[in-house]
Amino acid sequence: MRNYKNVIAAYSIMIFLIILVGIFQSWSIALTILNYCLISAVMTIGANIQWGYAGLINFGIMGYTALGGLAVVLVSVEPVKKSWQVGGLNILACIWIIVAIIFVVKFILNRFDKSKLRNYSVASVILGGIILLRVTAAPGIEAIESVDPAKTGFLGGMGLPVLFSWIFGALLAGGLAFVIGKIALGLRADYLAIATLLIAEIIVSIIKHEEWLARGVKNVIGLKRPAPYEIDLQTSEWFINLVTKFNSSKLNLINSISDKQEALNQMVIDASSVYVKLCFTGLFLTVVIILLIVTQKALYSPWGRKMRAIRDNEEAASAMGKNIVKEHLLIFILGSAIVGLAGAMMVTNDGLFTPGSYRPMRYTFVIWVMVIVGGTGNNFGAILGGFVVWFLWVEAAPIALFLINLFTSHLPETNAVRVHLIESAPYFRFLVIGIGLLLIMRYRPQGIIPEKIIKQ
């Protein structure tokens, strides 16, 4: 039981901090932070499965997150019929060409022995295929992108409810992980890190520049939501009654009727945004709890022990007859699928898909800091890391601003140093995260909540 005390204490502090934000800033901000903490927690669970359970470095988290976001667009947006009419055929043809290339390459690789000729023929098939693809796709893409470019100019999605996209995002990310895993998993640890980092960059650049797919850098806005819209809430009677009930004591203090109405309106507007965020919190919390239960079960199952054995000593595990390549691939897919799920959740939460915002700093390295800080190999630790680091990431700027003002209060308002420091307050988050990571790596390399092995 003593072991759980740490966990409970750490989580209580975290909840307390978020409540403090609610009291001092606003409940809406506190809930936004909480929602992002929960999304980060899902990402860290995914990264932790790969790094903590199996010791695989995946610096491609950004790529899977972006794919998850793409899934939301592909699943939930209504299909653009006109685009399909003008260019759908070309795109479908391209998919068939890609499939054909893959089969031809596979055939050549299986049929012939390793030789220079084989390499050249594979290369020429791929090159010829790419040229064929471009020739086939170009008129279609041009036609699609010119269909009402200000609003659509892409193929649209399937028009399904948005929650399906979470599953689809996970599948998409898992599928990509299968391909990448086949290519890169044999590499040494730091090579794998670099390779995954670069592959993620390729994926994001494809999503950014293929405008027929998801409008690229032109962004997709107004995505569907699994929660009610604020504007509907503000006009529905039951919600107004609910708000009146909650705030009756405050409202009773106001005498004039017009003032009362105005105060109530303001309260309804505030409460509607809080309500919507609470809906998201409920959804995200459900996902986190389900994932936590599943991953905890897996960690202490025979499968989890096998993974740890492989992580700690590959040769010994291999000598015991464990198929290391297969297990690594499996865990790479599982972890990536969870990250893809998180990416879909994030886009759903934001209601917009902005491929330009996917940067490795924010979506790969910060997530890694979360895993390392929280505790590798321990799911409670990883989730806590997601909470702590995201909280710091958001709140570092206001705290830095406060401290700067405190320490430079003796300087005049127009002092160059003071003005410069206040302008650069947002960048103190990098400093806080970096120093935090370095300190944790040095003095508590196992993380805030270390891995715990239950002897059975």
Partner: protein, 336 residues
């Protein structure tokens, strides 16, 4: 005549820019590879360290300009490089003392080093943004062009011209000088030999009396020189923007691995391989072909293999292919 024009088009739009860009990548790649060979880790703070050195050069350039110092037709930044290098080496040594040395003594696995370098990356990036801010800065002064296209056309009477920017010429010349001095140092001097010995077999090197502290110190000094010069040259040629430097780390890694990580000469060539591939694949050959073909056969499309948006993707694909076919790089690297 048409044939000459075609060659000149190709030369002007691909070969010259690729040589300049390749030189900048090569300096970065040698930096990565040296750290990898001697200190044995993949340094994810590479791009930001280059940016950090460049930042000093930018600030000093502004300061010198305000004092009225300058080099006439050459950019003032060249004058500031030595000072920037000193600051950069100082910063690297401080980082090494407080961060990396602990893990080196503990003989931590490379993965842990890589994570620590991510921490250094965050801190460096924060310092840069706090000191100079994230905005785009141009600090090039002096003569902009050595040969202008119009002058070249008048001189030769051809329809196409060659433009040679002074920054491109400076980049290529400075890179060649710096790299040849470095190779001379690594291959011909006693210190350089001891560095190579340390990189090849640490235990044997220690046994034969090589002082590890000295080797590490010299490595950081060379790294500081390469990082700063590479960064400043890139900044002069394009512009100085911290975010772009972070992104440049990726093709630099690609260059180092393609050349065979741990092998400085491979990294040097790897830089050019990546640069030429990026530019040749994303160049639109329409103008080039239209000179070679008879008039009625002139192509309609741009004849571009991939759009320039995929510039980075090309270098990464090359890297993936190299990792698949020959993981030790084109020129055998030291480790895998």
């Amino acid at each position: 005549m048409d044939f000459l024009n075609a060659i000149i088009v190709l030369f002007n739009f691909t070969v010259i820019p690729a040589l300049a860009y390749g030189s900048q990548l090569a300096l970065g790649a040698i930096f990565v590879t040296l750290i990898y060979a001697v200190l044995r880790f993949a340094n994810f703070a590479t791009g930001d360290m280059m940016s950090f050195g460049t930042m000093f050069a930018v600030i000093l350039t502004y300061y010198f300009q305000s004092l009225g110092f300058g080099l006439g037709f050459l950019p003032t930044a060249l004058l500031t490089i030595p000072f920037a290098i000193l600051m950069m080496i100082l910063y690297m040594l401080i980082i090494d003392k407080f961060v990396f040395s602990y893990y080196r003594i503990k003989k931590s696995p490379p993965v842990q080093f890589a994570m620590v370098s991510v921490g250094v990356m965050f801190v460096t990036q924060a310092l840069i943004r706090i000191i100079i801010g994230p905005s785009d800065r141009r600090f090039l002064d002096g003569e902009k062009f050595i040969i202008k296209a119009t002058e070249f056309k008048e001189m030769t009477g051809l329809a196409e011209g060659i433009t040679l920017k002074s920054t491109q010429a400076i980049t290529i010349i400075v890179t060649l000088v710096v790299v040849s001095i470095m190779f001379w140092f690594l291959n011909r001097t006693k210190t350089g030999t001891s560095m190579r010995a340390y990189s090849d077999n640490e235990d044997l090197a220690l046994l034969s009396g090589i002082d590890p502290k000295r080797v590490v110190l010299i490595t950081w000094v060379i790294a500081g020189i390469l990082a700063t010069i590479g960064g400043v040259l890139y900044g002069l040629d394009k512009s100085y923007r911290p975010f772009v430097y972070f992104n440049n780390m990726l093709p630099i890694f690609a260059a180092a691995i393609v050349g065979g990580i741990g092998n400085p000469f491979g990294a040097f060539l790897g830089g050019y391989v990546i640069a030429f591939a990026e530019i040749f694949v994303t160049y639109a050959y329409k103008r080039f072909i239209s000179y070679l073909l008879p008039e009625h056969l002139e192509p309609d499309s741009l004849l571009q293999l991939l759009s320039t948006d995929y510039k980075f993707a090309v270098s990464f694909s090359i890297l993936v292919i190299v990792l698949l076919i020959r993981p030790s790089g084109i020129f055998k690297g030291k480790v895998i």
